[in-house]
Amino acid sequence: MGDGVTTSRVPGWIKLGLPLVVLVVALGAASGLTGWSPAIALAVACAAAAIAALPLDTRLFTGLLIVAVLAWSGERSDLDPIKLVQQRDRASEYLLGRSLTEEDRADARRQAERLIDLRFEADASAAARRAAPNATPQELRDATTRLAAEARAAAPSSEIEERIATEERRMLLDKRGGYFPPEMRWSRLRQYGDALLETVAIAIWGTLIAVVLAIPFSLMASQRTLLIFVSGNQRWRRGLRWLIAGVVRRVFDASRGFNEFVLALIFVAILGLGPFAGTLAIAVHTFGVLGKVFADAFETIRKGEVEGVQASGATALQTVSWAVIPQSLPFIVSQSLLRFESNVRSASVLGLVGAGGIGFLIDAKIKAYQYREVATMMILIILVVALIDFACTRAMKKLA
């Protein structure tokens, strides 16, 4: 690179020296005369030096340009590793919870005791109401107090103490916060499992709709398969093929261009909250991705097999089914499985915009500071995705 006639005539010390001089001068000027941050000054100086290096050495030019881009983009994306170190206490408090003071413990104990008292009172109040439905409020209050005291006295003190301790532990965990230990109550697990199944269901139908639509469209987006439907070498036929492929490919670009999340927002606005909006969002995005991938694959099919079938007088659809599909089926299946696995992950966050799945629960729990429940759901998602990944890999190996 850059060893053309021009560079060979320029002495080495100028080739390296001139851009370096420009670099130093520009750096000094940029940092001294303007109020720019060091990173931006470096970026501008490198860009200036790169322009100086352009006629002398392309390799130096490329290197300086890369440094300029990295300096600028690092500044714009606020790269700050020091911040990460400074905030380590906050990170550990957020993830693992804060350490509790004596006051917190006393508070928890008091709240637990009060909670148990309230439970006795609630039971007693209900019992009093049952015993004397027509009593005056004052009589009811007296009866409630009496019954609560009796129930308390009747219950063994060890049992009461145990109930208080259970509540106290829960209060302490809530006060401590953090993601650990993950929530493991069975009723909650069932709730998460249900939401997770909805997520997988969204991914299944989203992927299926996308695959079924992408196959015929991608046949129209590849020159090689279009030749089966619109044959001939005349100018207008070539133009027609070019036009069809262009239009279909732009449709793929448009479908793929929007993230599932953005599409989900649109579909929620149209269809209302629920998993159907998520399914369609996944389907549209995946259609764009798979359509392009399939079309590119069709572009590389072996022409000989197509001609072998065509030469027997087969129709266009027969040629697709007998010459194109046999060659590309392993690729179509493996790509679809790959997208399915990726769609399960996408579907698990779609709930954040109300498009169904476990994301809705995660969003609700984060807003309620119930991070331990979020932790359980995250673990479940990882397990399910790993399981699907494993199954898909096995299926692909079988197919190859």
Partner: protein, 284 residues
């Protein structure tokens, strides 16, 4: 072989002033005229790039000619489109140098490709799209495999077969298709001498026993001389020789291939078909 009601025509192929110009101004064929009789086996010889393949591919319209006229089996086929191109291809079996089988399908399925032409109605087509054929089609396919002597390979994957076996599957496909004309484009150029002999013998036997005309492109003058009753010599897109095999002299061959015939004949492919013992169709 199935009984075939074939009108007695003087010529299977009639080509007049055929020209093919590819985009970019390359003339692959210039003013080619030739006729192939109803029961003939004709060989086209000539150096690489002479236009032999383009000529064969023009006849079944894998290539669109840019000028001239064509009649195949007495039917005008100049400039036909769509359905009539399919009809033309259905009647015209083609054998390729690279066999052009669908590699991921079985041998039997590849032969059934020849039956697709019989299942093309608005309703009849759909079962074939999911690889379903009726008993009649299966019987025809198996019969064709027996004819070329590889019935025992029916359930093997096409790509697992040797080159010679694959070419025989291609011939079985053409038989199952019930072709009334066979075009063979360098059928033995990718084969070892022994397989080449089997394939050429099979084509010759089909021609002899069923009367189906065969037009075959060949690299080797000796092979052409042995199998064809008539030889057509091509050079630079033109026909430069057309006559009985015996009339082709060494001088003419030298003209055809340029200076040294030896070099051309001993190119990538060994032109040895020493034994002349005939191999018949197994159950012809």
């Amino acid at each position: 072989m199935q009984a075939r009601t074939q009108p007695s025509l003087a010529h299977a192929i009639e080509v007049e002033n055929l020209g093919v110009e590819f985009s970019g101004g390359v003339h692959a064929l210039r003013d080619v005229s030739l006729r192939v009789g109803a029961n003939e086996m004709v060989a086209i010889i000539g150096p690489s790039g002479a236009g032999k393949s383009t000529l064969l591919r023009s006849i079944n319209r894998l290539v669109d000619p840019t000028s001239g006229t064509m009649r195949v089996n007495g039917v005008e086929t100049t400039g036909v489109q769509g359905r009539r191109v399919r009809d033309l291809r259905a009647q015209t079996g083609m054998i390729f140098q690279q066999f052009n089988l669908v590699s991921r399908l079985t041998v039997l399925q590849n032969v059934l490709v020849g039956r697709l032409r019989f299942r093309q109605g608005l309703l009849a087509m759909w079962p074939t799209l999911v690889r379903w054929f009726n008993a009649e089609d299966h019987a025809a396919a198996r019969r064709s495999l027996e004819q070329v002597g590889i019935a025992e390979l029916a359930s093997r994957r096409a790509s697992d077969l040797s080159g010679g076996q694959q070419q025989r599957v291609a011939i079985a496909k053409v038989l199952a298709q019930g072709a009334r004309l066979i075009l063979a484009d360098e059928p033995i150029a990718s084969l070892d001498p022994r397989s080449a002999r089997v394939v050429m013998d099979t084509l010759a036997t089909i021609n002899r026993e069923t009367g189906v005309p065969v037009l075959v492109n060949l690299h080797h003058v000796e092979v052409a001389r042995r199998y064809a009753s008539r030889i057509i010599g091509m050079r630079q897109g033109r026909v430069v020789f057309d006559g009985p095999a015996g009339a082709l002299t060494t001088d003419m061959t030298r003209d055809l291939y340029g200076e040294d015939v030896e070099h051309t004949e001993k190119g990538a492919n060994e032109p040895v078909l020493a034994s002349s013992e005939p191999v018949g169709l197994a159950h012809g």
